[in-house]
């Protein structure tokens, strides 16, 4: 049984208009995607803004409603569950949000922020609760006394770790990390990324890592899915994607990563021009008449590409 399997997931948003606010059209934020996560791995979801990667994450955790398709978490289809039935699965799936400045309630103490999920699921005495919160706050490397403080008293990296502590309290199996470090400075990024790797080992977590930063994705992820306009265009291991990209969109993304060697500057510029020309020239080969990509086809045991 797969740990998490997404089958033909579609999430459409209605566009309403006219006198009766009737549905006149739809935005296909996620348009028929299928992938699976194995226990203990880090799966990266990459794409430009607006490609549907965040919507995918939010739908898995139940913050968005799936239009159709299945989300099989340990064999159970989360998309079909009612709110009440979903409740017990919610604690196995937690989320780390993008912006540590807006994802923590400024009027709550750290204790209340981290204890909130515990209060939803467990009945603990205030003393036990405090002990548990202190355990997790120390796990994320913050001072146990900081539980009486408010979010504004912390720096960005510390806040993000408070968010991680909150996600850990219910011993989740899957963590969806939506751009967890893009709001942070490079050195703080390093701190949070290292830390996420440590707790992954310690708590045997599976990550769905959503990001547009290809350098970070490469550093963190075992397998990667590339999304474009709500669909997958390529999926494979880090190795497959970075050294042997097949789809033109993936090539374009990879060529856009700045080269850290200033001597390669001209070469990089030429490469980008080439890829761009190829992108324009062979667009029709990779996308159909409506601008949609084709279904994924395996080209090796681990690597699939959306080719006609």
């Amino acid at each position: 049984m797969e740990f998490l399997k997404i089958n033909h997931l579609k999430v459409y948003y209605p566009i309403r208009g006219g006198f009766f606010r009737r549905v006149v059209s739809q935005v296909k934020a996620v348009d028929d995607i299928s992938f699976e996560l194995r226990q203990g791995e880090t799966y990266g979801l990459v794409g430009e803004s607006g490609c549907g990667k965040t919507t995918t994450g939010r739908t898995i955790i139940g913050l968005n409603k799936a239009t159709s398709g299945e989300i099989l978490f340990e064999g159970k289809d989360l998309a079909q569950l009612s709110r009440r039935e979903f409740h017990q699965y919610r604690k196995d799936i937690q989320m780390i949000f993008q912006d540590p400045y807006s994802s923590l309630n400024p009027r709550k103490r750290v204790l209340d922020i981290i204890a909130e999920p515990i209060r939803n699921y467990e009945r603990l005495s205030p003393g036990e609760e405090k002990k548990k919160v202190q355990f997790y706050i120390e796990k994320v490397g913050l001072n146990p006394e900081s539980i009486a403080k408010y979010p504004h008293e912390f720096s960005g990296g510390q806040r993000q770790r408070i968010g991680i502590a909150r996600a850990l309290t219910l011993k989740p199996k899957l963590i969806i990390a939506d751009e967890p470090v893009s709001a942070l400075d490079v050195s703080v990024q390093a701190q949070v990324l290292n830390f996420m790797k440590d707790i992954q080992k310690e708590f045997q977590l599976t990550y769905l890592f959503i990001s547009h930063d290809l350098g970070i994705i490469r550093h963190m992820c075992d397998r990667i899915g590339i999304m474009y306009r709500g669909q997958f265009v390529e999926e494979g291991t880090s190795e497959d994607i970075y050294t042997n990209p097949q789809h033109i969109y993936t090539k374009r993304l990879i060529s856009a990563i700045p080269d850290m060697n200033p001597a390669n500057r001209e070469k990089q510029l030429l490469l980008r021009k080439e890829v761009h020309a190829e992108y324009k020239h062979s667009y029709g080969q990779y996308f159909n008449a409506e601008g949609k990509s084709y279904p994924l086809k395996p080209i090796s045991a681990t690597h699939s590409v959306a080719l006609p």
Binding site: D185, V186, A190, L193, R218, L253, D259, M260
Partner: protein, 342 residues
Amino acid sequence: MNSKPLLEIQNLRTSFRIQDHYFAAVDNVTLTVNENEVVAIVGESGCGKSALALSIMGLHPQERTKLEGNISFRGNNLLSLTVPELNKIRGKEIGMIFQDPLTALNPLMTCGKQIEESMTYHTNLSKSEKKAKAIELLKKVGITTPERTYKQYPHELSGGMRQRVVIAIAIACDPLLLIADEPTTALDVTIQAQIMDLLKELQHQMKTGIILITHDLGVVAEMADRVAVMYAGEIVELANVHTLFSNPLHPYTRSLFNSIPSSASSKERLHVIEGVVPSLQNLPRKGCRFKDRIQWLDEHEHEENPVLREISPNHFVRCTCYQNFYFPETGIGDGNNGISKN
């Protein structure tokens, strides 16, 4: 290269008043920018790079800011000019690209009108000439439907398009110097690549000097000619881009290199710089400012009054602590960063 630099900053100190005391956010910075040269200023947030850019433009609130030193732009000291005199220069000879394209644009004005605005101040073009020039500028920054974009409002455009409009405004009067404050930070990689290529092209075409402020070393590697690394208001290392990437010396520069995930060191742990960038009030004013974040290094490795010293031709490093610097973790950090070994 031109004998006289375009911009010469000498011993610039920008101090802000906080509760009746002045604190220097930019401290003793000396930097030159030549024609047709890209100078990158790198550092984490809070290290004074944006404060430096705004000092050049004179955009700090005057009643709370004290500027000392000299900023000479083609022979004029910008700090001694009155506001009307400064207004003749900024927007015309010095253009600025702001970080966040959504807040930099006026939501109530069409893009075309915003591009024309600086032409209205600085040139005597007629209405139709201005419109023609605005459309030409939009075309120049790579917008495929310039006539349409001219009439559109900022909210109708995507992030990359908005940033292009911001660039079009900055280059509307053919500036000699362009200050780009994190021009690509809010953008996706593919658009970032396009904007970088666009800026380089503009530089070649118009021989503009560019000050590029960024925290992204990848962008620096692709664009800059010279790099100044700033920490806590001071320049800690200044070198040619090739020198800096192949032989970074200052502990802060090396720590920055080690903290980014790179293809060379994929599955290793990243280096974490201990502690945080000190706030303006708590900035150590004596000795090496980076000392607290590399505490494993012996006290006597640091200089008492660190100066920016020329170590090899055109390679400046502050403080002596770089000489015996090492990373405490094993595995990474010996020698250089493993990024640009070839």
